[in-house]
Symmetry: C2
Subunit: 343 residues, 2 copies
DNA sequence: CTGAAAGCGCTAACAC
DNA sequence: GTGTTAGCGCTTTCAG
């Protein structure tokens, strides 16, 4: 390593001096350009680009009390649902002059509270978050009592501003689509149910739909660890009376379910149909193409970011009553077909 | 929306007043706790937690000239390679008290320069970046002349500090593995070659290995747009003398190549073997499991973050000569097999 | 249309 | 071991 040179970024006073104006004028050039004479403005701008001047963000933040940074709290970037969503957030914040600060919680509830604290200490102007369970979140309860604007994504809860998709209704539709295709032996597969209110909600939709159709679902297949997920699912599929359809609480699990089926010498979809949930982009390129509840992941992020930024601009906090429910689309694809004839 | 309450965060002077000490003492409690008497420290800490005090980051940054924020510039979060890497970065920065600010460039070269400028204006202490082409990057050339520490990930170039993997050697090994399996008709598939020095490097390794084996490769299959990728690959596979092996410049393309093969009624791997590059986690759960050059994506991010943070701590900039080449591992999996017998 | 001056909240000499 | 003071770079009244 070589040691760093000085090469300090110039301050507003140096620019002012070189341009023969006062610091206030330079400041105005950036914040209220119309209020400075064109000639003056051009001189200042020239000097700025000459010195590569960019206003110092912390000084401005300190003065204005606005950082132009949004904090983002999400479980993990390893699930494409969340990286797609973060990409959506990034693409709407950047052109509006906001930066983002993501923090991942790895589905650990206490990490959520810490993330919020840390982000607030960093002075973010607002927060976009995906929590494990909005209803029981202590961190969220505290957040609600602060004045900092925030929006939840994916979670849905009456007392918080949310951008979400009706997971229960979607799952209901999935089950009915399967019923139409002649399936009766349907099982649901999910991760740790208590770790995600989305999964719970989807499960509720599943149970409700099955009851509605007077069908007894297989016992829920809970696969807490991805390492063993495939084996656990395969174990169920290898039983004689195995389900003819596996409804998964997310796409990642569905992909593993497909693998479990192949390992169990079952063809997808001829022997077993499989559905996912989330609509990650990759699902469309798989063979068989994954049937899933396609959520507009990027749009959810964009929508949350827009809402938050607008709220901040109006000095308000997003109101729970204005929560947004985005439409889902069920993508029936190659991983689903008619139920096989009864043996 | 309801309007925000005041509920201002307390400042250090209020805490000082309530604790009956001076602001400096409060400051010391946070920055040099040993230099303040235990009793005093405890009082201060009590008052702090009582008021929910956290030092204001912009004030501290302004004063110390260190923001504890790292900028991250990468092409997109939609490719799991980069989101896995970012997750790696996030997991090493967070416990060390650094926040990250990611910006995506969508593979647009000019966006890289802008991202760097913006991030510097936000006052980041250092930069981790993945650029399109390190050799030709004007933005990188400028960056090198500044005193801000930075590390490149995935890119490799002699005059920049890089954390990377030997893409050419890896590709060389892949080709040789294919040769050992009896393949002779081997084609490479890549995205826009000029948009990525990684792809170029991998292609170079491919060409070199083929030449070394006295084999004429198929013409490079360049698939500029993902929308048409599958059809373009299928077109090649439908020729009578189609390749028996498709070597892809990344995993996302390989997944599409698998789909193209199925659409062309070719079995993978019986009729055509397919390899990817990157080692995205999902590849292991596909059926057939994707053969690929597994890069330690998260570790690459971690390694870059550690290097950068250490450099910052020592008031130095990472030196190109200390660049790190991480080992790759070729994962031979179900998507590859012996070449089919000649017809 | 422009300048002077105060102060955002914090840290780091420097005193005591 | 603790307090006093100055100042980081900027914006924003308030004068002119």
């Amino acid at each position: 390593m070589k040691s760093t040179q000085a090469a300090q970024r110039p301050s507003i006073v140096e620019i002012a001096r070189h341009a023969g104006v006062s610091p206030s004028t330079v400041s105005r050039v950036f914040n209220d350009p119309d209020r400075v004479q064109e000639a003056t403005r051009e001189t200042v701008l020239r000097v700025c680009s000459e010195f590569g001047y960019r206003p110092n963000a912390s000084a401005r933040t300190l003065r204005t009390q606005r950082s132009q940074v949004l904090g983002v709290v999400l479980p993990t970037l390893e699930n494409p649902v969340f990286s797609e969503c973060l990409q959506g957030i990034a693409s709407t914040t950047a052109p509006r002059g906001y930066a983002i600060m993501p923090v991942t919680t790895q589905y650990v509830v206490e990490a959520e509270g810490n993330a919020i604290e840390d982000l607030q200490a960093f002075g973010v102007d607002g927060l976009i978050l995906v929590v494990s369970d909005a209803a029981s979140s202590e961190a969220l309860r505290r957040l609600k009592n602060r004045s900092i604007p925030y929006v939840l994504v994916y979670n849905r809860h009456d007392s918080h501003p949310c951008v979400s998709v009706a997971g229960d209704a979607a799952m209901h539709d999935v089950v009915f689509g399967l019923l139409e295709r002649g399936h009766k032996r349907i099982a649901m597969v999910c991760g740790r149910l208590h770790a995600s209110d989305r999964a719970q909600q989807r499960y509720a939709g599943f149970v409700e739909a099955m009851a509605h159709a007077d069908l007894t679902p297989y016992p829920l297949i809970e696969v807490p660890f991805i390492e063993t997920a495939i084996q656990e699912i395969a174990a169920v599929l290898q039983r004689n009376d195995h389900p003819t359809a596996l409804v998964c609480s997310n796409d990642l699990i569905a992909i593993r379910a497909m693998r479990a089926a192949r390992q169990s010498r079952l063809r997808v979809p001829e022997d077993v149909s499989i559905t996912g949930f989330d609509g990650v982009k990759l699902g469309e390129d798989l063979t068989p193409q994954l049937s899933t509840v396609a959520q507009p992941n990027a749009e959810m992020g964009m929508s949350a970011a827009r809402w938050l930024i607008n709220s901040i601009a109006q000095q308000r906090v997003p109101n729970a009553a204005d929560s947004i429910s985005l439409p889902y689309r069920i993508r029936w694809a190659e991983s689903c077909s008619q139920a096989p004839p009864v043996q």
